[in-house]
Amino acid sequence: MLAPRQMSRLLIAGTKEQMGAVIAELYRHRLFHIEDFVGQEEYAGFKLGMPLAGATEASNDLITIRAATNAFGVQADSAPHGRPVSGAELRRQLQAELPELDAQADELVTRRTRLETRAKDLESRTAELEPFASIPIDLDLYRGYTSIAVLAGHIPADVAIAAPHEKAYAGGKKGGFIAVFTPIADREVVERQLLDAGFAAVRIPDETGPASEAIARYQAERASIEKEIEGINRQLGNLKEIHASFLLAADELLTADVERAEAPLRFAVTDLAFVAEGWAPSSEVPEITATLERVTNGKIHVEELEVDYDHDSVPVEYNNPSFSHPTELLMDVYSRPNYREVDPTLLVSIVFPLFFGIILGDVGYGLILLALSFLLRKYLAGEGGNLLLDNLRNAAISSTIFGLIYSEIFGFALPWKPLIFSRHLNIGGEAHGHGPDAVPMLIIAIWIGILHITLGRLISLVNHSRMDHGKHRTQAMIAQAGWLAFMWGILFVIWSMFPIPLMPNLGAIGGPIALGLNIAGILGVVLILIGIAGIGQENALELMELPTIVSHVLSYARLLAVGLSSVAIAMVVNYIALGMFINPALENLTPVGIVLIVVGIVVLLLGHTVNTALGILGGGLNSIRLHYVEFFTKFYKGGGKKYNPFGMKRLYTTEE
């Protein structure tokens, strides 16, 4: 909690005979994060390992499988998730079926490609012939002359040619088509005149008979080809139905084979021995050591190395209660935590839904979002999608609870008074109550900001004390304390000068002592000065950031402001739909009134749909932004490397 899972750096060394067994065992456990061998200095004399036997065959089979998968259009989530098959059985099946399946897929795809090429060819020929169809001359009459030149092409309008010639012209909507027959001697003159009139020549097709007949012939052929392609696609579809789960399982099995066979490429080896370095969760180290010793009959050396945090980048695996798992997605979007800093996932997983609820506190919207978070699971498959929907679910629950507190459902009031603060606006002139408690809520929002930012700075103190050394550590910690002093100093000064509801009134402590400030004010000024000194001693440029204290705290006002605007939209929609369309029409029901009621219902549905979408965006984006911009910038470094253990989550196959 609040820290990633503890990792140990492991060194595994053994003879080459043991390498296969060790790799298989590591792969099965899926705990060892391999640190690639890149020729480090301390490994002088070692070289990169060679793939295990069978790597090439497995890769080739994998390529075949993937080609068939592509040909059939099989997708990972399209196949039914049946019972996982055993690896040994699948291997037998692969031996027996793969060559035939490959040949089948290959044959069908080749045939389809050939047919598609032919169809393209026919299409372009038809396009070439089409203009000639409008001229009643057989195509063989366009060529085979010794003394006559033939020019054919598109031209905007018919043109008179001042040279001996015969021509045929056919007009159309977008300009005409012209064929000119002229003695070869006059060709140039005719051509120039034609070009001046905007002539664009086309190739004369190599065909016989009337153009329209040729077109009809080609179109018939194309239709039959298309039917044939359809048949092939149907066949491929049938094969997909039959083989999808086999292909996916085989892909998984062979991928595992290839990954295992190629693992030595990441190890350091000599002629007789190998060394693998990597990371494993500390709690699992005894287990890993024991199994490796068992499979190699003790002929293996597993050693836990000392970790040098300044040079080693330790892979980071979250270590959170299951409640916080969805939030890890939001953390990864920003950056995975560094191994040694405080992992704020747990805090975010509590505060994010709270902020969301404060902003979008409405029973109606909350329940809609809750329903969405379950209904969308079908469409947003995959781990990331599910985590996102889990976040939405948590936020929706919080939104519903705050809706009960605020007494709000789709902008209407619930049958009780708001439990703490009212957000009911006075829209449509139906005055009830005294309007929203905007000012008290604003102050609560600011309080949340002050506390959230103070928490951020305190975490920063912890981080710096953990991660820095020597003089720099002291300086950084003083600077963080300085930021805190500066912020609280400003607060003390404000509190001593202005009485603010829901905030301490320090002006009442005593009369002014100096500069018109009382004792609390003086204390505030001292804190501000200490703060500036503390920040400045680490880095004077940081002093430019001082105003962000004010803007960051005030930024939390969005908790009230965005929420209130969402309430306002809901109430306006209700007022337009009910107050302006439905209620007046219901009082005096006429045929026109029924139309008005329908319009009112449409406005109601549309308005609330839009407001739900805005609610997700406004509530979600603003809450996460308060974390990313206002909270994380105080302490969070991130940039941790993802823990990616060597192994595979098997979906379609079982271990052999």
Binding site: D332, V333, Y334, S335, G435, P436, A438, V439, L442, S551, L554, S555, A557, R558, L560, A561, V562, L564, S565, L621, N622, R625, Y628, V629
Partner: protein, 87 residues
């Protein structure tokens, strides 16, 4: 309609309150509207650059989103001022 002459001569307290309320509403509208324009101008450049960065490298999404919403604070301030004016 009120006679223009009597309107200038006899300004009743109700009229003064009403015009004050009206001006407050105008001020609130201006606060949100102008702050919104400011935010829009700010996000214009950032948003375009953020899109480009995300298109090149999807890992940038989180950071890009963060940069894009930074000017959002301006309009929130406008909204807060408007709310304080109105209530």
């Amino acid at each position: 309609m009120v006679d223009p002459v009597s309107a200038t001569t006899a300004l009743t307290p109700e009229m003064i309150t009403a015009s004050q309320a009206g001006l407050k509403a105008v001020g609130a509208g201006l606060a949100v509207g102008l702050a919104g324009i400011g935010t829009g101008l700010g996000e214009m450049g950032i948003g375009a650059a953020a899109m480009g960065a995300t298109a090149e490298n999807r890992d940038m999404f989180g950071l890009a989103l963060l940069f894009t919403v930074i000017p959002e604070t301006i309009v929130i301030f406008g909204l807060v001022v408007a709310l304080l004016l109105l209530f």
